[in-house]
Structures are given as structure tokens and as C-alpha cells.
Amino acid sequence: MLKERLKIFVNGRYYEIDVDPRITLVEFLRNELGLTGTKEGCGYGVCGACTVILQGKAVKSCLLLALHAMNKEVLTIEGMREGDNLHPLQEAFLNNMAVQCGFCSPGMILSAKALLDENSDPSEEEIRYAIVGNLCRCGGYVKIVDAILKCAEERRRDIGT
């Protein structure tokens, strides 16, 4: 079997790496790039722990072949921070104690980011819809939804809308 050259941008960096065509995007991120912030839970597109942002949209990286991301741009949890600071969503998760065991957090935060990028003023229901594909087995949904709501509020206040 032939390896294929994957050309991909991850967190703003360009990579060209020969990959086995069978590997999924999450396997590529974790095993080839060492970006282990993205978690693989079920591997069947149910739990959402592997959520990353591809071309601005949240996707489940266990259900994409790495080669699906050819010439595309991926954002993982490692690319969220802004300089030395955490991303406001990461801050909001910490401040609202929305992280318990932490396994779902990277995926939750990326789903939340994709939502807020599209909709700066989501209702609680819209937030719940946006994270339908992200399971939290600690059952911490209330604080997660709160964190996203508060983050959206603060960002709107900061930019004066």
C-alpha cells in the first residue's frame, strides 16, 4: 500500500507528511503531530471528544480520514490560546468550573467556538443544540452551558455590542 503525501495546515502551521491513507484525522493529529489535546473517545462519531474545527466548521476528527483534510486548515485545542493568554472560552470554562475530568473539554470548547464564531449571541437552547454531539460523562452540562453563555456575554460587552 502506498503512503500518500498529506498537505495540511494545523493551528496555522503548514505540514507535509506522508501518511497511511487509513489513518483518521484524530490519529494523524495525535500520533503524527503529537497534538494529544484532541481526544479519541468512541471512535464512531458519537461522543464528540475528537471535535476539531476544519475550515471554520466543527467536525468529528475520528470520522474523517486524515486525507480528507488535504490542503485544509484545522484548529485544535492547542491552537486556541491567544499569545500567552488562554482563549476567552478556555478562561470561561475554568472560571465557571465547567471542567471536571476534562476528557470532553477540548471537544466542547471547539464546538462552542464554532458556535460563537457563527452566532455571537446564542440562546441557552442554541448552545445546547450546538453541543448535542459532545457527551460529558461527568454530567457537567449545566456548568458547560453556563460557561459558554457567560463567555458570549463578556465578549459582546468587550466589543461593545
Partner: protein, 291 residues
């Protein structure tokens, strides 16, 4: 891990057709792969060639025109359909169905053509499309043909497509005034696959409340989506009284041939179908009446 395959990336629909004609049964087409990757990981299928068509921009579009209705490219994502203003306005049932289909991540990457060709009997989008009288455009190197979507399904996860054919477009005629279309499913959680799903398109004469035409499609309970003609016949031409709807629902529940599974018996599934048909006919009538 999946078994070895060669990953091919055609740059046009034409080239994709050339490749599937060349490799036939040893190849599998992959679009978003939201269903196919599961089958590959479980080694339920092991193609030698995977032909990736996800990047063919030419098959990603939603075009509307009053005369022909809507044309949706096979590689349009669920999310694009869900958020399309023209779909929301003219085919609101599709926006509603898409909103409750899996999760936003899956809808962002999964395509309507992929969903249809996967031929999962529990597909949420297929019954409403059939109720809307959708047709699919099918292309091979030799010809392009258009077939009613209903005729695409053969058995569980099997279509009537020939190995060298590719679905390129879904065409849906415009919905006329006086027609209402609704879909509802029964599932363990709202976003899960349907245990049973029912779509109804009904055209009523608003003056005398007569059912002029109706299509009722039941998905999820058997190998292919089932149009329940006897139940439709019970409705057609009659006055829309509540007991008529109950009667049609009863007929539908006996007309389907559910398969028992680990969760639900045949009898239970018939009961679900009965209740869904009753409720969805009622919803469709409300939509047709502009309520």
C-alpha cells in the same frame, strides 16, 4: 484498523465516473464518510480503492427556481441544507429534519448524496424526500438518467445503482399551496437514528377539507422506506375527520412489515407506526392549512 486501500482523488465528476467504471466492485465511493468510515473501521466492507469525491465543488449547490423546484447537488452538506434560506422558506420540512439529524459536527461534513446512497433504512432525510416526490440524477460515463428516489432502494444498505453509477443531484418539485409536508421520528433520544420515522405530504382542498392527494412513507421499520398505499387510499378523496386519520394510521400499522430487533418487538413497532402516522398526518394537515 481498516484494511488497506488506495485512496483516489478524482478532480471532476467525469473522472470519478471513469474510476468507478474502471474499478467496479473493488472500489467504494466516499463523500463525507460519516457512515462509511464506521463500516470501514468495523471491517464490514474492505474495498481495494476508496474514491474520494468530497472535494468536487461542482456537486455542492442548492439551486431554486419556481418552475423546476429545488436542485440539490449530491455533495451538499446536511448543514448547508439546514441553514439554506430557500430550503427553510419553500421546503421547511427539510430544514426541520436536518436540525435533528445527528449532531452539528456530522451535519457539517456529511452529505445528502452520501446519506441517500448509504441506504440506511433509518435515514431521516429519505422519507421526507420521497414524500416530496424527489428524484435523483444518476450519472455514469455512458449516460445520465433520472429516477424517482423511491426506486433507488433495494435492501438494507443496498441501492439499485449499477457499479459504474454516481448520484449527482436530488431534484424536488416545488410544494404547491394547499400541500403540507411533515416528518416525525421515534428514537431513544431526539438525535438518535430513527426506530421508525414517518413522512407525510398531503394536499387538501381548503374549501371542503377533502384530502386530494397524500403520500405516506414509513422509514426505519423494514429494509427499505415503505410507501403505505393502502393507508393513503383510506385518506384520498375523503373528508379529513379525526376518525379517518385514526383509520389510516391503523391501516398503515398493519401494512408495514416491521423487523423485531434487540430493542423492540414487531408488535411494538406497529404501535409506534400507528401513533406516528396519526400524528404526522395531523401535522401535515395543519401545515397545509397554513396553521
Amino acid at each position: 484498523m481498516m484494511q488497506c486501500f488506495n485512496f483516489l482523488r478524482p478532480e471532476s465528476t467525469e473522472e470519478a465516473c471513469t474510476l468507478i467504471a474502471k474499478f467496479g466492485d473493488s472500489a467504494k465511493i466516499i463523500a463525507g464518510g460519516q457512515s462509511l468510515l464506521v463500516l470501514l473501521k468495523q471491517r464490514l466492507i474492505s474495498p481495494q480503492y476508496l474514491i474520494n469525491i468530497k472535494d468536487l465543488k461542482e456537486l455542492d449547490y442548492i439551486n431554486y427556481d419556481e418552475k423546476f423546484g429545488i436542485r440539490i447537488g449530491a455533495l451538499t452538506t446536511h448543514r448547508s441544507i439546514e441553514t439554506s434560506p430557500v430550503v427553510k422558506k419553500r421546503f421547511s420540512v427539510l430544514s426541520e429534519v436536518e436540525r435533528n439529524l445527528a449532531s452539528v459536527q456530522i451535519r457539517n461534513w456529511g452529505t445528502i448524496g452520501g446519506n441517500i446512497c448509504h441506504a440506511d433504512p433509518a435515514s431521516d432525510i429519505v422519507p421526507p424526500l420521497i414524500s416530496l416526490d424527489a428524484r435523483v440524477k444518476v450519472k455514469s460515463l455512458l449516460a445520465i438518467r433520472e429516477i424517482p428516489l423511491h426506486n433507488l432502494f433495494k435492501d438494507y444498505y443496498e441501492t439499485t445503482l449499477r457499479v459504474d453509477e454516481l448520484v449527482t443531484e436530488i431534484c424536488i418539485p416545488d410544494v404547491q399551496n394547499g400541500t403540507g409536508v411533515a416528518y416525525s421520528k421515534f428514537s431513544l433520544r431526539r438525535f438518535d437514528m430513527a426506530v421508525a420515522g414517518v413522512a407525510v405530504s398531503i394536499t387538501i382542498n381548503l374549501a371542503d377539507r377533502i384530502c386530494k392527494d397524500i403520500r405516506i412513507i414509513v422509514g426505519g421499520v423494514s429494509a427499505v422506506p415503505r410507501r403505505v398505499f393502502e393507508s393513503e387510499n383510506a385518506m384520498r378523496g375523503n373528508n379529513l375527520a379525526e376518525n379517518l386519520i385514526r383509520e389510516a394510521a391503523m391501516v398503515a400499522s398493519e401494512e408495514v412489515d416491521p423487523v423485531a430487533d434487540v430493542h423492540f418487538s414487531r408488535k411494538y413497532k406497529r404501535e409506534i407506526v400507528k401513533i406516528l402516522v396519526r400524528d404526522v398526518i395531523t401535522q401535515a394537515i395543519q401545515k397545509a392549512s397554513g396553521i
